[in-house]
């Protein structure tokens, strides 16, 4: 390796500084009770007990609903879009580029768009509903908070899933489709017998990764609703941790909640890794 070991040392130091040190800080903080002066008092598992006895049902339900709905919507839309655009037709390159553009937009910009399009007076969405004679819900109110978050998060995340599925579709040999058409298979049969077996594993991995990332997402829930919400209804778990740390100024409790959050997600992820490697061995 020669002098390249210097790169390894620098890289290792950077990774340790960026991830290991903060994680260690959170774990240590979860066993402390800092006072207003900043001094930390060791309280062992008191923060964990306090967290377990608090009412976390609301944020848990909101997080599960937000995560499952967003990931389901983005994967379904991405699959549909990839199936529609992986064959050649006039303008397909433009369509593929267009479908990727929302990925390059900042979350704040997409929230701005949502806010304008859901505005009770000037918004396109209430306008369309009124024209159709349907009842127009308050798209900015608490009742629509979760659906609004799901819409924004799906719009933002869909291009990435689309790119992953599209690149997997490109790897399916054309001969498979030719064989299917020789045997007289229609679109549904072709999908079931040719496409689906080839994309199943990639979709599974994508599903797990997107679930992991979405469950911890904080910018969308915060910007769409929580930052100006009249109450804490609709807070996801990530928002609850943020509020504990920065609004209620209970860093010890927030740290304990973070540790439980990360531990829970890591356990689920490792279980999935173990199950999928068992599938591969069978």
């Amino acid at each position: 390796m020669g002098r390249l070991w210097v790169i390894v040392v620098i890289g290792a130091m950077a990774l340790v500084a960026l991830y290991v040190v903060p994680l260690a800080d959170v774990v240590l903080l979860s066993t402390d009770q800092p006072d207003l002066g900043g001094a930390r008092h060791f309280v062992a598992a008191a923060n964990y007990r306090a967290f377990a006895s608090a009412n976390n049902a609301g944020p848990l339900v909101a997080t599960v609903v937000f995560t499952l709905a967003t990931v389901a919507a983005e994967l379904l839309l991405a699959l549909l879009a990839a199936l529609l655009t992986h064959r050649q037709f006039p303008g397909v390159q433009l369509v593929r580029a267009a479908l990727v553009i929302p990925y390059l937009a900042s979350t704040v910009v997409i929230v701005v768009l949502w806010d304008f399009f859901s505005d009770p007076i000037a918004g396109a969405l209430p306008g369309v509903l009124r024209r159709l004679g349907m009842h127009t819900p308050d798209l900015r109110g608490p009742g629509f908070a979760l659906p609004a978050m799901v819409c924004v998060a799906t719009y933002e995340a869909f291009p990435f899933a689309y790119l992953v599925i599209l690149s997997r579709l490109f790897q399916i040999p054309a001969s498979h489709y030719e064989l299917a058409s020789i045997f007289g298979g229609g679109a549904m049969a072709t999908f079931r017998h040719v496409t689906w077996p080839q994309i199943r594993r990639a979709l599974g991995t994508l599903l797990v990764l997107r679930l992991l990332i979405t469950v911890m997402k904080i910018d969308v829930p915060w910007l769409v609703y929580a930052s100006h919400a009249p109450s804490h209804w609709g807070d996801t778990f990530a928002v609850r941790v943020y509020r504990l740390a920065f609004e209620s100024l209970q860093p010890g409790l927030a740290a304990a909640a973070s540790v439980i959050f990360v531990a829970g997600i890591t356990i689920l992820y490792l279980s999935w890794l173990m199950m999928s490697s068992k599938d591969a061995n069978v």
């Binding site: 890289g11 903060p22 549909l80 937009a105 979350t107 910009v109 304008f116 930052s227 740390a245």
Partner: protein, 268 residues
């Protein structure tokens, strides 16, 4: 079947892009024009919104901060992740697996979890409300996928090319500087641009770390001004368009045929 699927694809793409197209056009309209006829053709187009933004000190600070922070983040991440990705792809050494795991674990340590140990550590170091702190946080955010991209890119370079250099007596460092880096230059440029975009549009770390206008980035500014109804819609749209600008070079890069060739693994 082909006709209807291509029509559906065009319609879907048009529907998806329509809000962003509306936004770009609205950035060049006056507020009265937007409110009078939001979705119709504009009465006239003007650069006045952008001139007005430039007269707001917070905006001038914001664009300067965003440029500085995004450039610094992209530089730091490329300089660290690219060589590390190469070394991990070529050599097995004690701790290589651990390094790779820590690099990927960055995905699990999302802003929601890291934001408040970062603020805790930054306050103790006296770095809260500083651009350096935002660069560090953005580097943490971008490092996992930069590392993954760099490793993938390095694996795409056939080792035979380096073997030829070894036969000529090149040291490992010389191999990297004279063989690997020139071949990776387009991918490194792509990596730099991607990390720049990620840092440019990042909201949450910047929102938590920046406490005063002098340090705020553009997304934080847009979030604050829009949420508080302090800016009218035409200015909000103009500010959003400025935020969308780095998307242009990224799109151009991915459209370039040279990069597509490299992606398919051809090097000449």
């Amino acid at each position: 079947m082909r006709r209807s699927t291509s029509l559906a694809a065009h319609a879907g793409a048009a529907l998806l892009l329509a809000p962003l197209c509306w936004l770009v056009i609205a950035a060049f309209r006056s507020e009265d024009d937007i409110l009078a006829n939001p979705y119709g053709l504009p009465r006239h187009l003007t650069f006045a919104n952008f001139r007005e933004l430039l007269s707001i000190p917070a905006f001038v600070h914001g664009i300067g901060n965003s440029l500085l922070i995004a450039t610094a983040t992209a530089s730091v991440v490329t300089v660290i992740a690219a060589p590390l990705g190469y070394v991990v792809s070529r050599y097995t050494f004690f701790g290589a697996r651990l390094l790779r795991s820590i690099g990927s674990a960055g995905y699990l340590l999302a802003p929601a979890v890291l934001v408040f140990p970062y603020t805790d550590l930054l306050s103790r170091l006296g770095l809260m409300n500083s651009r350096v702190a935002i660069v560090l946080a953005h580097a943490a955010f971008a490092m996992p996928f930069a590392f993954g991209i760099a490793e993938l890119g390095a694996r795409g370079i056939p080792f035979e090319l380096e073997e030829a250099a070894i036969l000529d007596g090149a040291t490992p460092v010389q191999r990297v500087m004279r063989v690997v880096l020139p071949l990776l230059r387009f991918q490194l440029a792509g990596l730099f641009t991607l990390v720049f975009c990620v840092s440019w549009k990042e909201y949450f770390y910047a929102f938590t770390i920046a406490q005063t206008e002098e340090v705020m980035t553009l997304p934080v500014l847009l979030g604050n001004l829009h949420g508080g109804d302090a800016l009218s819609w035409n200015l909000v749209c103009a500010l959003s368009v400025v935020l969308l600008l780095p998307a242009v070079p990224v799109l151009l890069l991915t459209r370039s045929s040279r990069l597509r060739e490299l992606a398919r693994g051809r090097h000449d």
